[in-house]
Symmetry: C2
Subunit: 212 residues, 2 copies
DNA sequence: TAGATTGTTAATCGATTAACAATC
DNA sequence: TAGATTGTTAATCGATTAACAATC
């Protein structure tokens, strides 16, 4: 049954499965089992089996899944065949890097334009995308029915930018600023918080050295 | 008791608390309660109280925590006062953006140098950091006792780079490539996987539109 | 003292893992 | 048929939430 709900944990493993299945290209094997995927990725096989079952029902006992078919089902589930438009706010270094990150289209993401407050950068292009003044944001969002907003401004302006995005009808925010954003019910904030990753890395090292 | 173990979930919330506490600067209030923090960040207050208790024991009933004291304890726990050296491999767009990301020092991370396979970029500087040939990696790691390796190479080379890093004595890998990395026991891989974030964003939009 | 807040102990919830039946 | 694999049902584990006692 399509549209069924999938846990965040499962969701975060799916792209990894997809990538692994694609990497098997050229090995000439038609079938692949959940067990094999689990083994390769260092995961429990029941987890993988459950995850795959939530995306596909083409698995057959003793055989496994037809590799290409499963790839298709994962791509479809992840929306790679249904491109979503996005806009990006904050054309600093990180923003520019994301604007010219050429693999997003493969993941079903199309950044239409960048926005900034610095008149110096208005009209310039980064990665083939125009940088526009903030004033044009709301209008463009509504006209193009953009659903995803990417925030790459300094932390102190992130909430303000977020509010503007939501005013423009944005329903999902990809937040690269290291701040908590308050949003109305129904809007998703996905934080790409480097401070969090650093905390986990640093804690690992601390533990490593305190225990041995 | 210092050095006690903290869950990954708790760990990921700590930087957010710290950031919020700092943002209270200038409000002139000496004390802050877990309840207030929870309210501001949209979290359950018991979660916050437990998290803070794992980092500090200076909380006092009826009063809460001395704001500046708690900030200090969080900074210390997160290792912001104990800089870790790191090296980065892959001086593409993302790699360069990270090399010149000037807030890392505040988070206790110091990127010593970048590495790449392209002779064109050897010797150039990005964000004040030299780009060196891969051959020099192992040696530099060992000599400087570098513990953190940052991978910003294309997926197909990530595992290979990871192996080289580990050979150089790296204990924690910050992986920006969208691939699974196999590492020996005791080495941590922290994935900054954009494909995962995109999957979560896209799924949210899908659910939004199927339910209403 | 009364009330706010901390911190702890027990209950709930959700995800992972284990055991097992179904099937090609 | 036997064995590998799927998918389901039950058990375990860990994190969150709820209830409550301690305290300033």
């Amino acid at each position: 049954m399509p549209g069924r709900s999938v846990s965040r944990q499962t969701l975060s493993r799916l792209p990894t499965y997809l990538h692994f299945l694609r990497s098997l290209e050229g090995e000439g094997r038609r079938y692949v089992s959940a067990t094999a995927v689990a083994e390769a990725l260092g995961l429990n096989d029941v987890v993988v089996r459950k995850d795959l079952a939530s995306v596909s029902s083409s698995g057959r006992p003793k055989v496994g899944y037809v590799r290409t078919e499963l790839i298709g089902e994962l791509e479809h589930f992840l929306g790679y065949d249904n491109t979503q438009e996005a806009i990006l706010v904050g054309a600093g270094k990180l923003g520019k890097a994301l604007l010219s990150y050429d693999v997003f289209p493969q993941y079903g993401l199309d950044i239409l334009a960048g926005f900034d407050t610095d008149p110096q950068v208005y009209g310039t292009e980064v990665g083939g995308k125009k940088i526009l003044p903030m004033e044009k944001l709301s209008n463009l969002c509504r006209r193009m029915r953009v659903r995803i907003g990417i925030i790459t401004v300094p932390g102190e302006h992130a909430q303000e930018v977020c509010d503007t995005l939501i005013e423009g009808g944005i329903l999902a925010v990809w937040n690269f600023a290291n701040v908590h954003l308050s949003v109305p019910e129904g809007v998703l904030v996905q934080n790409e918080n480097m401070a969090v990753s650093l905390a986990i890395l640093s804690n690992h090292l601390k533990e490593r050295f305190s225990t041995k």
